[in-house]
């Protein structure tokens, strides 16, 4: 069967992980360069899905199964790809801020960012400003992404920005925030460069930040 990048994209978009894996394996056997399989098959599939999600045409279950299909397709490619080829878009440190144990939204954003080609370091939940600072020192990310579910914990976001400033790291990273109570106005107010309304728009926002 001839290599068909659109078929791989379709399989990812439809969340058909078996089909995605099968098509990726066939393409490898046919000698298609792995990076081409990634960039013209798997990635467009997840991008199309992201657009459909933004437009309200698909919902979270479809996003999850598409990410799973993407992930399993990427697993087939991993032996043939350099890490830098898989994570070309840059590194993101992500965490739920101190005092907040919620991780569902943050996890889905992490998944979407990974699918879109970011290298994501997940610090988990209840992450103190100090832990964000240490992680920035250790990983030198392009972006620090923070999540909060509660009005009483979103106020810990500016403390992270302040800690980055004090550590002399603020100019090295772009900061994006999201979560149920978070608005663009709040992001502007605390000086975060990025804001994501939901998990799908987080990818576009991260791409904008790394380009900017």
């Amino acid at each position: 069967m001839a290599w068909d990048s659109a078929a791989i994209a379709d399989a990812v978009r439809e969340g058909d992980d078996r089909e995605a894996v099968s098509l990726v394996k066939s393409a490898i056997e046919e000698g298609v360069p792995p990076i081409e399989i990634l960039e013209t098959g798997l990635v467009p599939g997840i991008q199309q899905l992201g657009e459909l999600f933004k437009d309200g045409e698909v919902f979270l279950p479809e996003v999850l199964i598409a990410c799973r299909a993407m992930d399993r397709g990427v697993d087939e490619l991993k032996p043939f790809l350099e890490s830098s080829e898989m994570h070309k878009k840059g590194k993101v440190i992500i965490g739920t801020v101190e005092g907040d144990l919620h991780d569902i939204g943050k996890n889905i954003v992490r998944l979407m960012l990974e699918c879109a080609g970011f290298d994501v370091v997940d610090l988990g939940v209840d992450v103190s400003p100090g832990k964000f600072v240490e992680a920035v020192k250790e990983h030198s990310p392009a972006i620090v992404a923070m999540s909060a579910l509660l009005t009483i914990t979103m106020t810990n976001m500016p403390e992270v920005l302040e800690a980055l400033e004090k550590a002399g790291l603020r100019s090295q990273v772009r900061v994006m925030i999201g979560g149920a109570p978070i608005t663009r106005e709040y992001a502007d107010q605390i000086g975060a460069e990025g804001f994501a309304e939901d998990c799908a728009s987080a990818v576009g926002e991260a791409e904008r930040l790394v380009k900017g």
Binding site: F59, L101, T151, I152
Partner: protein, 391 residues
């Protein structure tokens, strides 16, 4: 001529009584568990330690959710966590699991709760929403074990003195609500969100079986309850939306949930109950038409931060939808000017249209100053033509 509180509630729901400022509590006008303590420390009356007295202080109108009938979200499960009280909500399983503490670190305690979930809570504030680490249902095998706890005929599902309880309820001059369960919400409690969302795709038969089990439980219990108790309204709990939309697609809602909703709402209507409430956080734009089609017609809390606009919903759905909430809780943390602006931007219109029960858009959080909340209530009273609270 004065009317009973029950009739007043129904008349508002049926759009027969407009302009009436009815601040229902508990539940619609309610508070996070930490609020009384925080407010008392800030100078609020000591009587706030008693939630009933706190409601009286604010002049709320009573509504009674018959929690003693174990058919819906059981909201008062309690556990001692190293001397602090952890209050949580669980589905109506019987018997409950034996709660225990599993481990602890510097800041948190990991507990196994009465709902069969493993959760991590803060030592200094167990009430802050926990992180769930493990859920009781993972597959068919665990589900088959768990569903044994959902037998509608378990005697403890109804109060021991059922006839006496029913007589006491029937004698009350307050609207009575019957819990009629949940489909998405309970399944999420049992499986966790991500495994549940995968299961909708990977194992639809499992989802069907869980929902059918719930539907059967509710139908049997509704019949039994309504044989003895006069019921004014029924309540579902779902919490099935996030900031920009539902957690599952409308197609999945129709496929998995709607048939069960219809069985329940048709039974309720056949027995004279046409006020059917659903509590769901998040953006309800896609969900309201689906619920209306399913026979559910009362929506709360309509969170503003999630893009809900009660004025828009009223204009769109007219008298098909009863609305509650939609006063942005975030203004409580800002200023009295913004509180007034928020109230005046919607409450007079909604009250005049009818079928609206004002409240902030979910429980009042502990960072809302007492003084601002009091100002909100007095502003609402002013809109309703009531005198300010005399405190």
């Amino acid at each position: 001529m004065s009317i009973s509180e029950r009739q007043r509630f129904l008349d508002i729901c049926h759009f027969k009584r407009t302009g009436d400022m009815c601040l229902l509590a508990p539940w619609l006008n309610d508070f996070w568990v930490e609020v009384p303590e925080v407010w008392m420390k800030a100078g609020a009356p000591a009587e706030f330690a008693d939630s009933r007295k706190m409601r009286e202080y604010f002049g709320f109108d009573h509504i009674r959710l018959m929690r003693e009938i174990q058919t819906g979200l059981y909201m008062d499960a309690r556990m001692d966590v190293l001397g602090m009280e952890y209050v949580y909500a669980i589905p109506p399983i019987l018997p409950l699991y034996e709660p225990k503490i599993l481990e602890q670190d510097e800041h948190t305690v990991t507990v196994f709760n009465a709902g069969g979930q493993t959760a991590r809570v803060y030592k200094n504030d167990p009430q802050k929403m926990p992180m769930y680490l493990d859920q009781p249902v993972k597959d068919w095998a665990t589900w088959k074990e768990y569903k044994k706890r959902l037998d509608p005929d378990t005697p403890e599902r109804f109060p021991a003195d059922w006839a006496g309880y029913a007589a006491r309820m029937n004698a009350k001059d307050e609207p009575l609500l019957l819990n009629v369960g949940s489909f998405f919400g309970f399944l999420r409690e049992w499986m966790g969100l991500e495994p549940l969302l995968y299961a909708f795709h990977d194992d639809p038969a499992l989802i069907d079986d869980m929902m059918e089990t719930l539907c059967h439980l509710e139908l049997v219990c509704i019949d039994k309850a309504m044989d003895k108790v006069r019921v004014d309204g029924a309540t579902f709990w779902e919490d099935m939306a996030f900031k920009t939309g539902p957690l599952i697609s409308p197609k999945m809602f129709r496929r998995f949930m709607m048939p069960h909703y219809k069985k329940i709402t048709e039974l309720l209507r056949s027995r004279g109950v046409d006020v059917i409430f659903v509590d769901s956080d998040g953006n309800l734009n896609h969900l309201i038409p689906l619920w209306l089609e399913s026979g559910v017609n009362f929506f709360w809390p309509l969170e503003v931060a999630a893009g809900n606009d009660a004025v828009h919903y009223r204009k769109t759905y007219g008298k098909d939808a009863i609305l509650g909430g939609n006063i942005d809780k975030r203004v409580l943390m800002k200023s009295k000017e913004l509180i007034r602006e928020e109230v005046m931007s919607k409450v007079p219109f909604l009250l005049e249209q009818g079928g609206y029960f004002p409240s902030v858009d979910h429980f009042v959080p502990p960072d809302a100053p007492f003084e601002n909340y009091l100002y909100l209530i007095n502003t609402l009273r002013e809109v309703g033509g009531l005198p300010p609270l005399q405190h």
